[in-house]
């Protein structure tokens, strides 16, 4: 049933050392199309390091990151030429940062933010770009009359939704998210979670999401990896890991959260 040719992303023996300190170590996993993989762990557990290594932003000390490209099939990401890798990162991949300020251009309008990726891949028709930007604002529930406003005039939740629209406009297949609901208050979080889940379903996205919030992980992810001190101590189906945790650290983590 698990046909290897369908694997979208394959991580093997990934290790990142900061001198003698471990960022992450011996990480192996596969991601299939349409899957949402959560990575949980406390601050400093190495989950952001891992995400950066996987998303080609931080070259690991050892190991392979292979991605099933649309045209050439499985390719090792760190063996690609830099132009090829950067093209991949701004077309078939997307990265949603915890802080919208890291993922948006705050000094240009919402429309230009969404349109940038289209222009980067050669779209040169202003009317078409603007139309796409408007459609995408609609999909992330931002009124179209905000199209020409600067992101700095948006609320935190709107900025985060704008960042998502900006990332998804090129139709990526794989989205990386680093604590996407991190800085938002609870009611805004719920709206964003709902939006993310419907986008994932409607667009058939594959997602790797780093979060310290187990409730977010439960609602969004199909699979979960638990990290401690740079290592994956447990992984499996999200509900299994959270309902029947096997590792001491996971049990501690699960028993530490407030019941909702």
């Amino acid at each position: 049933m698990s046909r290897d040719s369908n694997i979208l992303l394959s991580i093997r023996d990934l290790t990142m050392m900061y001198g003698s300190r471990i960022g992450c170590q011996d990480v192996c996993f596969d991601l299939w199309p349409g899957e949402v993989l959560g990575i949980v762990g406390e601050s400093g557990s190495g989950k952001s390091t891992l995400l950066n290594c996987i998303s080609a932003q931080l070259e690991p000390s050892e190991g392979q990151v292979s991605y099933n490209t649309r045209i050439e099939g499985m390719k090792e990401v760190y063996q690609m030429s830099e132009p090829e890798r950067r093209l991949l990162m701004r077309t078939d991949w997307a990265f949603v940062h915890q802080s919208p300020r890291d993922g948006l251009r705050m000094n240009v309008s919402a429309g230009a933010n969404v349109g940038e990726r289209l222009m980067a891949i050669g779209n040169r028709h202003y009317g078409d770009i603007r139309q796409s930007a408007e459609n995408w604002l609609g999909k992330v529930e931002i009124e179209s009359d905000r199209l020409d406003d600067l992101p700095s005039t948006f609320s935190g939740g709107m900025q985060q939704r704008l960042q998502i629209a900006r990332n998804l406009v090129t139709g990526p297949r794989l989205v990386f998210m680093d604590e996407p609901t991190g800085g938002l208050d609870v009611s805004v979080q719920a709206k964003l979670l709902d939006l993310l889940r419907s986008l994932v379903r409607d667009l058939g996205l594959s997602v790797i999401i780093v979060t310290h919030d187990l409730a977010v992980a439960r609602l969004l992810s199909n699979r979960l990896m638990v990290m401690q001190r740079g290592r994956i101590v447990e992984q499996g189906l999200t509900d299994q890991v959270l309902d029947d945790p096997q590792h001491a650290y996971t049990q501690l983590l699960v028993s530490s959260i407030l019941q909702t």
């Binding site: 830099e82 132009p83 950067r86 251009r105 000094n107 240009v108 309008s109 429309g111 230009a112 349109g115 940038e116 990726r117 222009m119 980067a120 891949i121 050669g122 040169r124 028709h125 202003y126 009317g127 770009i129 603007r130 199209l147 020409d148």
Partner: protein
């Protein structure tokens, strides 16, 4: 110059020492070889403040010879403070001839304009450049802009144009209008009006650009393709005026608006004063220059 056998002058020819000129010429050669690419160079302190054309002056100093005739313009005019002081600088340090006539010049150093008179293959146009990096507006990191140039990632340039149209309904960038050189490098043409961009395209003269503060040199060899950026549905257009030049009646030049008094009277005149004078000498007259009497017109 063989200065060991002659009387030691107050300055080396054209102020800079010969080794510095050689260093700049090497940078120029590389710049000519890779049109539009910004070559770093070890810019020297010049006896004038940054922003007054130190980059252009160093380039001119590196390429000028004793037999050359120099013209310096600022906003198209030969007689502004900046133009006058640079012209005097070379007259004094290099003893070269200077001229206000475009056609008579071998080297033309310019700030903000390209002369209206078409340039020839035996002429060099030297631009003074404040900010050489066209991508700087949206990307402050030099490491990142260099990578973008290397990988031809120029989508960001269109973000700026998009923003213009979104805010003003048209591309409102009117000067320092970005252009793609030889289908490869994105270039800031210095703050010339976009009116002048088409003149750069396939120009017979050599065009050299010097940025003193940022210590960058770039160049357009003769007959280089210069394509101003645009959108398919918002094509590049140059400025146009409903008025003609009040003095020479020209319809096809870049016009400056001149306020005549505090009653709201104004006139438009060619920004290129040499071109305008030349036309007037040939008998062309504009609406505010009938009967050879500008003052009377103004008095009305």
């Amino acid at each position: 110059m063989n200065y060991q056998q002659t009387e030691i002058p107050d300055y080396n020819f054209a102020y800079l020492d010969e080794q510095t000129k050689r260093m700049i010429r090497r940078a120029l050669l590389k710049a000519v070889a890779i049109p539009g690419y910004q070559v770093p160079f070890a810019g020297r302190e010049m006896p004038m403040p940054y922003g007054w054309g130190t980059g252009g002056v160093q380039v001119t100093a590196a390429v000028i010879g004793p037999e050359d005739t120099l013209k310096v313009i600022d906003q198209g005019s030969d007689d502004t403070t900046n133009a006058v002081s640079i012209r005097k600088f070379f007259a004094r340090t290099a003893g070269v001839e200077t001229t206000e006539k475009t056609a008579d010049a071998d080297i033309i150093q310019t700030r903000h304009r390209i002369p209206e008179h078409p340039l020839r293959e035996d002429q060099i146009l030297v631009y003074q450049v404040p900010i050489p990096e066209p991508l700087r507006f949206l990307e402050p990191r030099e490491t990142e802009t260099r990578k973008m140039h290397a990988l031809e990632e120029y989508g960001l340039m269109h973000v700026k144009l998009y923003e213009d149209i979104a805010r003003h309904g048209h591309i409102a960038t009117t000067y320092a209008y970005p252009a793609l050189i030889n289908d490869r490098y994105m270039m800031d043409p210095s703050p010339i009006p976009k009116f002048d961009n088409p003149k750069m395209d396939m120009m017979p003269a050599l065009q050299l650009f010097g940025a003193g503060r940022e210590k960058r040199i770039y160049a357009l060899p003769p007959y280089t393709k210069v394509k101003s950026l645009d959108f398919e549905d918002h094509p590049f257009v140059i400025q146009s005026w409903e008025d003609v030049c009040g003095l020479c009646g020209a319809k096809d030049t870049f016009l400056d608006e001149v306020i005549l008094d505090d009653q709201g009277n104004r006139m438009f005149v060619c920004s290129d004063s040499d071109h305008c004078n030349e036309r007037q000498a040939k008998g062309h007259r504009g609406p505010q220059n009938r009967d050879d009497s500008l003052t009377e017109e103004v008095a009305l």
